[in-house]
Symmetry: C2
Subunit: 313 residues, 2 copies
């Protein structure tokens, strides 16, 4: 007889959260989804109950007491472009994350998966702050995520909670926010507009959204603790990603590499380590980059075709 598994998922209306929900349901979890607003079409398939909750202002203690989750997947964080790197909202999200952990620990949750970022890597090899020297070049976002992990790992060790910290790198695929690089370029090229880009020398670790979601659920289902990169372990220059999109769409003529300057916070290289995911969790990526990009272009092709048919456009 299977033990009952109840999972609370924050950030459930986000790109990654939304992709996790059906997989969790398939694996036998009773899924409680948290989001500030119920999605327009109602709770997504697989969700037992949607909780309209603002983690920054509502009482998570009462909710956790009522739901009594055995598992928690915490994805919510400030993500607004232009705010999340340096905004004071990061402090509020550290607070919300610690509150959620405390509530879950007090109410008997046995497995917690909180989500960090490859951006923390900029910190990893820095000495801890000397006099007046906050980690040079490290964003408030990265420091806040990293500090959240440090506190929660110590709390988990002290209170016998199984805790993992999944670092996301560069998820991409259908459903990504429209202002992200891959959707922006695909939509431009499909619409016949020029896509003005940086030189694309930045090296990133891309993972298709279905792989990201499957990896997160695999980590949740495993006993692995501590930081685990949700990553392919393979670095690709964004230039090569963009050239691939241009080839798939057949509009290499519209791709303008090197016409925009690199943003100040752009790190030259963010690549994860795939070893813990492979060795400790027993999971490996399934969708190759070419395949993932083809599927993503196809999704946007259909979406724009559907959009053209909608009478309100």
């Amino acid at each position: 007889m299977a033990e009952s598994k109840v999972v609370l998922v924050t950030g459930a209306s986000g790109f990654v959260g939304g992709a996790c929900l059906p997989i969790l349901a398939e694996r036998g979890y009773v899924v409680h989804a948290l989001g500030r607003r119920l999605p327009v079409g109602g709770p997504p398939p697989g969700v037992s109950r949607w909780h309209e909750v603002d983690l920054l202002s509502d009482s998570v203690e009462r909710l956790v007491a009522a739901v009594a989750p055995t598992h928690v997947v915490h994805l919510a964080w400030v993500t607004e472009r232009g705010r999340f790197w340096l905004g004071l909202e990061n402090l509020s999200w550290v607070e919300a994350s610690l509150r959620l952990f405390g509530a879950a620990a007090r109410h008997g949750a046995r497995r917690l998966l909180f989500v960090g970022s490859g951006a923390e890597y900029a910190l990893t090899n820095e000495p801890s702050g000397g006099p007046g020297q906050p980690g040079a070049g490290s964003s408030l976002y990265a420091v806040s995520k990293d500090a959240t992990r440090r506190v929660l790992e110590a709390a988990a060790a002290a209170h016998g909670v199984s805790f993992a910290w999944a670092r996301l790198f560069f998820p991409y695929g259908p459903g990504d926010a429209a202002d992200k690089l891959v959707p922006t370029v695909i939509q431009s090229l499909l619409a016949g507009r020029a896509a003005e880009c940086t030189a694309g020398t930045q090296v990133r670790d891309l993972l298709y959204i279905e792989d990201v979601a499957e990896a997160l659920v695999a980590v949740l289902d495993s006993p692995a603790s501590g930081p685990i990169d949700i990553a392919s372990g393979v670095g690709v220059a964004l230039r090569d990603v963009l050239l691939r999109i241009a080839a798939i769409t057949g509009r290499a003529d519209l791709l303008r590499l090197g016409v925009r300057p690199m943003a100040a916070h752009e790190a030259p290289r963010w690549v994860g380590a795939a070893d813990r995911l492979r060795d400790d969790v027993g999971w490996q990526p399934k969708v190759a980059l070419d395949d993932g990009l083809s599927r993503t272009v196809e999704y946007h092709r259909r979406a724009s075709a559907a959009g053209l048919q909608r009478p309100d456009r």
Copy 2:
């Protein structure tokens, strides 16, 4: 014409907070003190206004907006023996500290002094957590304080706030909590009871309470940022401290060194670095250990004499 300086002091009813209040008033600050309860005799001398506030549950945003402090001294944290090393309350105090910082930054405070601990030193030379390796042997308290500093230094850098982090080591003197080592031993010896101690081989950095409070105010008044040890820089074995107390009280016969085991979390050595306080703040300790211990014994002698005269004892 002097600029108006309004300071908000949290933990104002504590040992260190209480010692800071009159010094702040002398230096021309309008002093707003925060504590869960108004002290029995009313606000201490020098306090303009006492705010009965629980930082863990009350809205600090509204209070900070109303007081509009130019300066903040944040001392409050969980201190209950047996809870503060590992209790989940540490997470709540990280939250409260970040909330206070955010509110102060939003409402125009220009100088923030938050208080850490020499306990963080256990972390300083550790590599940042590898897979599944929270800082070995480091307490949730130390990790929580350290993480608070990391986040707030990054936030201060991003938002142009002048921020210092004062690490306390071993403050002692009149007014210390009765269950601390120095008061316990003094009271035992003065009462003619045996004082059962560990071997006292732990090396600590003691600073007399008036020096601690003066140092904190000196840091607040300086532009120095980042972590600053509130320390003498001199390590003394607790054994020598206890022998000195025995000599001052004339009851060496009652001191039992080595009859109690060392607690698991006792670090062999916690000694601060006095260089930043001396060079960047321009402050040095005034009260030598012998003098400070003599004053502390004298305080307890008077207190117990006064106590003996009270009819309810």
